[in-house]
């Protein structure tokens, strides 16, 4: 069974602070995605990382894929209240010819004004 561990699981910070979320696994994934989910809604894709060592930036969000494609991090600079939500990482794998996404438990972020 492939597992993705996210840390921290909960984080409450003040507006303007920086934070980093980690997503770790013992398995290798063909790609890894980060999603953001607001209460009562489905997850929305933020970014996909494919190549080991890849770094992608999306405004104040920086995503990195580990060299061995087993882990990833999300760094948010100068967090804003609008960043509040559940951040999920998901690994894409192909087991037995069946492609699927496996999700981590998520990191619940609260940014206080």
């Amino acid at each position: 069974t492939q597992l993705l561990e996210q840390s921290p699981q909960f984080l409450s910070i003040q507006e303007g602070e920086n934070l980093t979320v980690y997503c770790n696994s013992s398995s290798v994934f063909s790609s890894l995605q980060w999603y953001r989910q607001e209460p009562g809604e489905g997850p929305v894709l933020l970014v996909t990382v494919v190549t080991g060592g890849e770094v992608k930036k999306l405004k104040r969000l920086t995503f990195q894929f580990g060299d061995a494609r087993k882990d990833s991090s999300l760094h948010i600079t100068a967090a804003q209240p609008g960043d509040t939500g559940l951040y999920l990482c998901a690994g894409a794998s192909n087991q037995g010819g069946s492609e699927k996404l496996v999700f981590g438990k998520g990191m619940k972020l609260t940014v206080n004004p």
């Binding site: 063909s30 790609s31 995605q33 999603y35 009562g40 809604e41 489905g42 997850p43 929305v44 894709l45 996909t48 494919v50 559940l86 999920l88 998901a90 894409a92 192909n94 069946s98 492609e99 699927k100 996404l101 496996v102 999700f103 981590g104 438990k105 998520g106 619940k108």
Partner: protein
């Protein structure tokens, strides 16, 4: 415009009464997934279809079934809902090829069992 549509958004069913949740997509994606998500937890994959090929997760209870009559539609059937089945049910689609396995989610159906 919504690309993955789930109906209904909210469903209340009685304990033991069969219920069906529906999902449709306009993306023409090969893969459709059903996830169960309980409060503040990660989505848990129940099963998925790759075209017409059904892939059941080993730990998905027999109480949960699925149908995909065509590319656009997929249904989740819960034969005898229990109180523990109350959750948000998310449908998602993807092209299904390695680097293109990004999932597009619907807004979910919140199931309440009374």
């Amino acid at each position: 415009d919504a690309m993955v549509i789930q109906n209904p958004r909210y469903q209340v069913t009685q304990f033991g009464k069969p219920v069906t949740l529906s999902c449709s997509q306009t993306l023409n994606h090969n893969v459709m997934y059903w996830y169960q998500q309980k409060s503040s937890q990660a989505p848990k994959l129940l099963f998925h279809y790759y075209d017409k090929d059904f892939n059941n997760e080993a730990d998905t209870p027999d109480n949960f079934q699925s149908r995909r009559p065509n590319t656009s539609f997929c249904f989740l059937d819960i034969r005898s809902p229990g109180l523990g089945d109350a959750a948000m049910y998310l449908c998602a689609t993807s092209r299904g090829r390695f680097v293109n396995t990004e999932a597009f989610f619907g807004q979910g159906t919140r199931l309440t069992v009374v």
